[in-house]
Each structure stands twice: as structure tokens, then as C-alpha cells.
Symmetry: C2
Subunit: 376 residues, 2 copies
């Protein structure tokens, strides 16, 4: 971790005057895997960073991340601004501009105060120190209620991750960002995809896709890749992604839906996703209602067939449906749901060997308040 440096500035992008600019300096041009939002209304820095990764062959020497402004929906000027940020960092570090990535998060549709941002970059580059995960997480936070980071060490291997995201708390705020670092050689892409699927791609707050979402694993060391690396990277990504659900706007419960014994993994995932994003399921969870009808109706709404005469459903260990409705103590289960912050739902399709788990938050009054009342 001592090889990864950071510089932080208060560039005046956030109205609060807090830290809003982070520069990360890596020891050399590190190999990396990155994924970005698939939203066609993607922000300028997303488009810019994709282009840079392509030009550099997925090598990263430095990153610059600002919070308080997403630089999204900002037209051609927005791309120019992202470019100016990246090129400024490259110039100051004297590295190829293709090896510098740019990220932004915050309000949509307002031009970046680019003069301030460039000054902030200069300040940050001139005040480098060893990466502090908490400080880095805070510098890229927007409406997060707590900083999100995790660290893992196994023998000589280490992995750490910091990120931000809390649904879309403020009207124009968005975005999940997460950056993971490891001192091993870069893991094969398939393992990266696998970890992504099980962590940041398996969570839902409000079903709404952001314009700035980005996640990457950066390899800054040369230890051989091993299972320990996989486990370490998975662990820190899982912890940070769970923190994002916990910080979900207005969330009072964290629900895990596990779809078991599906014929293929995609089916398990699509069905788990349909349940996790259903407003009727989310409101039932908020109301501590063991409403299995809504869960099965959501499960049945995808393109994949399920057989109501075959499946079974458990809520917090209590069987509530098994090929047909079965008797259970509703009052008691509801009480149990009311008292717990964590609710586990298991849907057993009884047809194959694949399974998939999703983590999601409930939907309550606070979500409406946050998203409807704190407006322009």
C-alpha cells in the first residue's frame, strides 16, 4: 500500500467547501481491468477514460477523481473538461496522457468549474502522501453517510478497495465508484468478471442505473496470482458493495435474495434481480410483511419460466410456500422481520445446480422524502 500515493484538494466544487478532488499516483504503468456504466447517457469522464484505457492497453499510472459534479449531460464542453483534467495530471507527473484516468461524481448537467478543478489538481499533485483509504473515500463521497473502504492481507498478498455510492440521494446526485488495488500480477479477466458479478453487480438500491458508475482492479505488484489474491480481492469488494447497500437512500433493511437450484446461472441471476428491483417486494420488506405472493409474482415476471407447482420459498428460515401455499405463523414471522435489519429470502427452483444471490434495500418513506422533497 505504501507504493500507492494520493493527493487531496478542496477545489471548491462542493458547495460545502469539503474535500472534492483526489489524485492517485501509482508506482508505474499498472495493468488494470475496468468496467463502466452501460448507460448511453454516460458522463464525459466515462467516455474519456474508456478511450484512454484502449489507447494505453489497459495500463494506468494515475487517476483523478472529483466529487460534487458528475460532468454528465454537459455536451461537448464536458468531454473537453475531462480531457483537460487528465492532461493536466499527465503533464504534472510527466507521464503519457493515455495512462491517466478521469472520474467524476455529483450533480448532473452543470459545467465543471474547470479553472478551480485544474488548480485543485495542481495542489493535490504537490501534496502527495501514502494512500489513506478513509481519506480517499471521503474525498470522493457525495451524499454518502459514511466512508466506504476495506483492506485484506494474506501472507504477502494484499488487496484494498475504496468506493462511494448510496443510491441517488440528492436529486441530481448519482454514481457508484469503486477502486480496488492488489500487489499481485493482474488476475485473469474471467476472475475479475466473476468478482464483479458477485459484488457490485449484485446489489440494488432503487433499480436506477447511474451515468457515472465505474469499477476497476489495479495491479501494482508482481507477486504471482493465486487463490489467495482472488479471495482477498473478493473480500474487499464484497465489503465495500455491502456498505453501499447499507447506505442505500432511506434503507431500513438489507435483504438477501438467493435463487437456488436453477438450470443455468443467468436464470438465477435474472430472477434474483427481478425480485430485488420489485417495488412491491421492497415495500413489503419495509412493512415487515412476509408477502410471498409478491415475491413469486416478481420471480415469474422474467423471460425464464418457473413452475409454481415445483418451487419453494423460505423467508428468514421459515418455509412459506412449497408447490402450494403452506400454513405458517404470519404474525411470528412478521415480528421477526420487524426486529431484524437483515432479511434472507431463499427461492428454490428445484431444477438444476446453479445459484445466485442479490443484496438489496427496502423502499420506505425516506426514499420518497429524499428523492421528491429535496429538489431544485
Amino acid at each position: 500500500m505504501n507504493n500507492v500515493l494520493m493527493g487531496i484538494a478542496k477545489a471548491g466544487i462542493k458547495e460545502s467547501g469539503k474535500e472534492d478532488l483526489l489524485v492517485i499516483k501509482l508506482p508505474f504503468a499498472c495493468e488494470a481491468h475496468f468496467v463502466f456504466t452501460t448507460n448511453h447517457f454516460a458522463a464525459a469522464p466515462v467516455l474519456y477514460s474508456k478511450n484512454m484505457l484502449e489507447a494505453s492497453g489497459n495500463r494506468v499510472s494515475a487517476m483523478v477523481i472529483n466529487s460534487g459534479n458528475a460532468n454528465c449531460g454537459t455536451g461537448i464542453e464536458g468531454y473537453e473538461h475531462a480531457k483537460m483534467m487528465g492532461e493536466k495530471v499527465a503533464e504534472l507527473f510527466d507521464i503519457p496522457k493515455e495512462e491517466v484516468l478521469v472520474f467524476s461524481t455529483g450533480i448532473i448537467g452543470k459545467p465543471l468549474p474547470i479553472i478551480n478543478v485544474l488548480e485543485g489538481i495542481e495542489y493535490a499533485v504537490n501534496h502527495l502522501e501514502v494512500l489513506d483509504l478513509e481519506m480517499a473515500a471521503k474525498a470522493i463521497s457525495t451524499t454518502d453517510r459514511f466512508p466506504k473502504y476495506a483492506f485484506c492481507k494474506k501472507d504477502n498478498y494484499e488487496a484494498f478497495c475504496f468506493g462511494k455510492g448510496a443510491g441517488m440521494i440528492h436529486p441530481n446526485m448519482a454514481t457508484m465508484l469503486a477502486f480496488c488495488f492488489t500487489n499481485s500480477k493482474l488476475m485473469p479477466r474471467k476472475y475479475f468478471d466473476d468478482i464483479l458479478e458477485k459484488t457490485f453487480n449484485s446489489i440494488d438500491v432503487d433499480g436506477c442505473q447511474s451515468t457515472n458508475d465505474s469499477f476497476g482492479v489495479i495491479s501494482y505488484g508482481d507477486l504471482d496470482y493465486s487463490d489467495d489474491v482472488y479471495n482477498c480481492v473478493y473480500k474487499v469488494c464484497k465489503e465495500v458493495s455491502d456498505m453501499i447497500v447499507k447506505d442505500g437512500e432511506g434503507a431500513t433493511k438489507i435483504i438477501t435474495i438467493e435463487v437456488k437450484h436453477a438450470s443455468i446461472k443467468t436464470k438465477a441471476k435474472v430472477i434474483a434481480n427481478a425480485i430485488a428491483t420489485s417495488n412491491l417486494v421492497k415495500t413489503a420488506m419495509f412493512g415487515a410483511d412476509p408477502n410471498w405472493g409478491r415475491i413469486l409474482a416478481a420471480a415469474g415476471s422474467t423471460i425464464f419460466p418457473i413452475d409454481p407447482l415445483k418451487v419453494s420459498l423460505h423467508i428468514m428460515g421459515v418455509k412459506v410456500y412449497d408447490r402450494a401455499p403452506i400454513h405458517f405463523n404470519k404474525e411470528k414471522l412478521s415480528q421477526k422481520m420487524r426486529e431484524s435489519q437483515d432479511i434472507e429470502i431463499v427461492l428454490d427452483l428445484k431444477e438444476g445446480k446453479e445459484h445466485f444471490s442479490y443484496r438489496f434495500s427496502d423502499l420506505g418513506y425516506e426514499y420518497i422524502k429524499i428523492n421528491a422533497e429535496y429538489t431544485t
Copy 2:
């Protein structure tokens, strides 16, 4: 309309003791087009009616519809009950059982009180009268706040429609049902599909698909099919579908999103649907917030590319985005949105000739209250 008869009973399915059973008797085995929910957790009567339509070659002589219980998630017994309902009607009218359709709406997961239902059917069949749209609509209502029906006459042509649906107001309540009748020969299937697309398939309350949704057009006359018939059928279906959005749970606003100038119709529809079902857009509408960032982010979340440097967006006639953010009076537009129950949004993709409109309701506190607090 005098050729279509109805019988109504209080079968004791609804706890309120109100009318909960409707039998419709047609003058002969009428040709019909029907569509049903694509949910794999479809209710027993949906499966039964599909089988009957296949067996009869889409001919219908009678229908029986109960409210108060959806006969869904009721296992093998549920299908038996639907069959008993259909066969009872067939027996009493002395018609082939294949020509009788069965529909249910109400609570999920409880067995039908089948003895009561069969007695209700007998009563209804023995008390036939000419169809009264309002009474019919009331008999199939669950949590609807008002009966939904419409009538249209052009020269000798007539079309009428009654239906029910209000989102999923009560915890286990569900379903949109609508039945349209016309005295012309049956319209070609493509026109039926076209009307369906523009009416019942273009509305959204909470993005949640029901297990019992059914819609049909039944032809009980032999006048030649013409544009007048199309227009009449479209008009009554549009009116009833609009009533369902108006009655959406907790709805304070009815929003129309029109996606214009798409390259293909499917693209216009998929993008309109993404906007209509976005919780962030729905809450912004509830809060009278002209939040164009959320609308464009939802528009960009589908598989179809949109170009932020090309599109424009209007809210209630005010241009808010055109290839880049543009200046507009936010306070004034917000005020206008606050004062109106109807909000129109137009997204212009500027790439082709196709367009599609969706109608949807907003998302406010009342939805949470209805869906989380009135629980088991």
C-alpha cells in the same frame, strides 16, 4: 349491447359482502382475441382460459369473473377450481365447456371458497339481464376507487369496454382485467395488437406485472369491419386504460412520456417504458421537479443507444435540454408542474420517424403507505 347479458351475485368471496361474481352471456359463440399476463406465476384461471380458447378456436359463448380472490399460487387445487367454475357455467347454459372463459382477481394464495362460488354462479345465471357497464365494472372491482367503463357509437357500429385495476393497492391484490365488445366482425389480429400496444400495454403504475392480467375484444355482431370500428374500439380501450392510471395507487399525477423520432418503434417503446418505470423519475414528478438528468439517465439505460449530443427534451412545453443543458426558469416550470395533474414529457431522439407514448403515475408517500402498512 342488448345482445350481451349479465348476471351478478354476492357469492361471499369479498369480506365486505359486496358483489363479487359476474357472468357474461353472449348471443352465440363469438370470435375473440385475447391476451394474458406473460408472468410464469400466472393464476389458474389464466391457464384454464388459455386452454379453452385454444380448444374452441378462440370462440367465446360465456365468461365468469370473480373478484376478491385471484385463485393464484393455489397449486393444483386452484386449476381444479377454475375448471369447476367454467364447467358449471357451461352446464347451466348448455354450451360446450370450451366456450366458457374464467377470470379471477383479488387476494393471492388463498383457496377459493368454491362451494360459495358455484352457488353464486347459479344465482347469476338465473338472474340474467342486459349488460350494464357500470354494474359489471363494480362486480369485478377489488380496490378500485371508481368503476371503469366506456362506450362508443358511430353510425351502426358500437364498442364498449369495462375493466378494473388500480395497481396493487392491497398487499395481495393484483390485476388488470378489461373486456371490450363490438358488434362488427372481428378485427384482424394485427389491429387488435396495435390497439393493445397503444392502450393497456402503454401504462404503468408501479412497474410490477400482475399474475392475472387479461384483456380481450369479443365480436358479437356481423357488421363489416371498418376504420370506424377500429376508432371506436381504440377509443373505449384508451379511456378505460387511462382510468386505470388515474386510479393508480397513491397517484397524484398522470404523466405522458412521448418518445419522438426514433429509428424503430420498438426503440421508442423500450425507452418510453424505461422512463415510465424509473423510481427516480416517478419521485421527481411527485415532487414537481423538472429533473431532466433523471429522465435522460433512464432513457440511456436500455440496450438502445441514444446520443446525448443530439437529443432534446421538453417538459410541459418547456425545452430543458437540447444537445446540452439549456437555461430555463426552473422555479416557474416547477410551479406549473405542481399545479397540474397532467404532465407531458417529450423526448426527441432526432433520428427517425417512429414514436411511442406511455402513460404513468408518480410515486409518493401514499404508495408506500398502501403497500407497506396495510399488511397481513
